[in-house]
Symmetry: C2
Subunit: 392 residues, 2 copies
């Protein structure tokens, strides 16, 4: 018996553990200080009432023989897939209901989708990066290459024609930088993928935050149906981080090696997954109804307003950042040439504000710092006041 | 870009599609006949009231800022893991809460657990077999060997000392045969695993049906903590097929190649999974409370009584079978030397009763046939009456 030795290649990431430890030490040393956490990566506002009502109705169904639900379809119930297809239509993108796979979350799909690809493909990720893309592929023994995002490209890495990649993860709006690709930039990526026979795994988990007309789906770009798979999630769109639901779109015509990727993924899911909980699917469908969309918009606006409060302050202070628009994340340059952890300590010690050191997301994050808009309005305002006082 | 060519090794299984097609053809040709399906592999009775109440309460929590739940722990909430540990204790098996991983179902865990093992391990399954064990490992390019279950060993395959296996799937009570290993038999498997440095992946999904004192967990067997991982599910225990919740137990001391398998699986889950829905975890914990256990017992008894009605009839007819006790499945020998499909047609044409041809579960299923106890009492009685009339 041999274990999977590729796990040895995983680099333990103590980012959030170190943040918590330092924060706790500061709290113990300064019990009188009110610490404000602008490092939160999780939503904090409750679900929309109509969504919870649908979820409860789904629970009630399970209580009666006549409405009881057993094993769901592996790819999700049709009414959920149709609701998602309708949502795509609402921002002008055509995706067919039968191209959609409903899942327990985009993270699972990000990690599991490589199952359908050979081990000896080269994976490209942009750096800084959501660690799941890297770790899931290291576990499978794949070679990973990095496209640096940096101030010079506004943290929107573009393809290098001299580099040959087979599987490319793009996240737009990006976690952690908040930067969102324009249609023209995505067209360049699609072009690269088509020329290189590559597949784009496009993580659109933050699409609901887009407000400047940037594409909300890779399928808004010509040619994407021949080279892209899109992953999305209700986590940030509708506060489903603890409710668990996501979806993946694989165009029916998307083929490689003569195989339909849609069919391969269906086979993978049919074998290693058994569908999403009935009440959760009921809730998910309701998110994309007319009233659901209206109700979730209130929470999205709340977070967006927080993001604007933070980015307005950085504008005032003349600090470079990405995100703040189109994203719940603000990715700021550490002032005065400080390093990520240096600035973390400085902000904690002098303003009792906690953020996330950018270098925790990859080499290219050095000297940067992530703030998030998921705290309350009141605390966000207070934290921003302290930051302005400190850095002005 | 290369796809995973191991998918080419998957054999398409049209078992249930063929059953449905033949059944529909018969229904079209004989609209006057009432067809009774004893091939159902899914539960049909609703969830226990106290479980649904807990699930609804979980939904309500998501509606209020004070009780809202975001990202869950990857391994499940402590109160759920403690409830499961308590359940183990109720039948005399010690499993620690922190050895338990809560998941969206045992099927996912069955399919994903091999992620932590190297590709060049040899996988052993008993035949007939739950197809997930085979297909998940074929996808990963592993070699699979079969231990035949047959009439001679009462469909309880035992290890062959001349065969070297690294990963061994055991399912007891078995799907599809309903046969349950005794403590002595499991001790032989544990002994084999320890001698061969192998790992048992023990699927206990049907343990709640055990009534004759057979072990309900591999951890009832000495030495198992050094060689076994147990997978279990609330699907059949508490009717969660559409609610989705399972759990996997990996003893902390279980190591291979100097690595803790518990830690490897934690790392896998932390990377490629994001935990189980809050309302579902609330419901799962309630299953294992005092009142929950009492309420789920009613459904279990109902199915068990159906199984007894079927197996009593086979006893009367002098037909060999396994299961019927300890299991919702009855695995019968086709009468008169008929083949699996031959008997399927015979039963459909002459009694309008539908079952599942055994050869759909593997070579060793030839000449056998699976009946299930998940239909209503009334229809089970009616079907059994017809079968007795036909075969007496």
């Amino acid at each position: 018996m041999k274990i999977n030795r590729n796990f040895d290649n995983l680099v333990p990431n103590y980012l959030f553990a170190d943040v918590a430890r330092k924060t706790n030490e500061f709290a113990a040393a300064h019990p009188e200080k009110e610490i404000i956490r602008l490092g939160i990566g999780d939503v904090t506002l409750p679900l929309a009432p109509i969504v919870v009502a649908a979820m409860k109705k789904g629970c009630e169904d399970l209580l009666h023989k006549e409405t009881f639900k057993g094993y769901p379809e592996y790819e999700g119930y049709d009414f959920v897939r149709e609701a998602i297809a309708g949502y795509y239509g609402s921002f002008g993108v055509t995706v067919h209901a039968d191209e959609i796979f409903v899942s327990d979350g985009a993270k699972s799909d990000c990690g599991n989708l490589p199952d359908i690809f050979a081990q000896d493909n080269t994976v490209l990720v942009t750096d800084p990066v959501y660690p799941v893309y890297v770790d899931a592929n290291l576990m499978a023994g794949r070679n990973i290459i990095y496209a640096p995002s940096c101030k010079e490209n506004n943290f929107l890495a573009m393809p290098d024609e001299n580099v040959k990649a087979d599987i490319i993860y793009l996240c737009s709006p990006n976690n952690p930088t908040g930067a969102a690709y324009s249609a023209d930039q995505l067209a360049v990526w699609v072009d690269y993928a088509l020329k290189n026979d590559a597949i784009l795994l496009y993580d659109a988990a933050y699409e609901a935050f887009i407000e400047d007309g940037s594409p909300r789906s890779i399928f808004a770009v010509d040619g994407a149906r021949q080279c892209a798979i899109e992953l999305c999630s209700l986590s940030k769109t509708a506060g489903f981080t603890g409710t668990r639901c996501g979806y993946t779109v694989i165009p029916k015509e998307l083929k490689r090696d003569g195989h339909s990727l849609h069919e391969l993924w269906y086979r993978r899911q049919a074998t290693k997954f058994n569908g999403v909980s009935w009440p959760v699917q009921c809730a998910a469908a309701e998110v994309f109804g007319r009233e659901g969309l209206q109700q979730i918009r209130e929470n999205l606006e709340y977070y967006k307003q927080n993001a604007k409060i933070i980015s307005d302050a950085l504008d005032e202070l003349g600090i470079y950042y990405t995100g703040g628009k189109n994203s719940p994340y603000i990715w700021m340059e550490c002032p005065g040439g400080m390093g990520s952890w240096e600035f973390f300590d400085y902000l904690l010690q002098n303003a009792a504000v906690v953020g996330t050191p950018g270098e925790g997301f990859g080499k290219s994050g050095k000297g940067f710092f992530r703030l998030t808009s998921f705290n309350s309005r009141e605390k966000t305002l207070e934290a921003v006041g302290r930051i302005k006082n400190l850095l002005k």
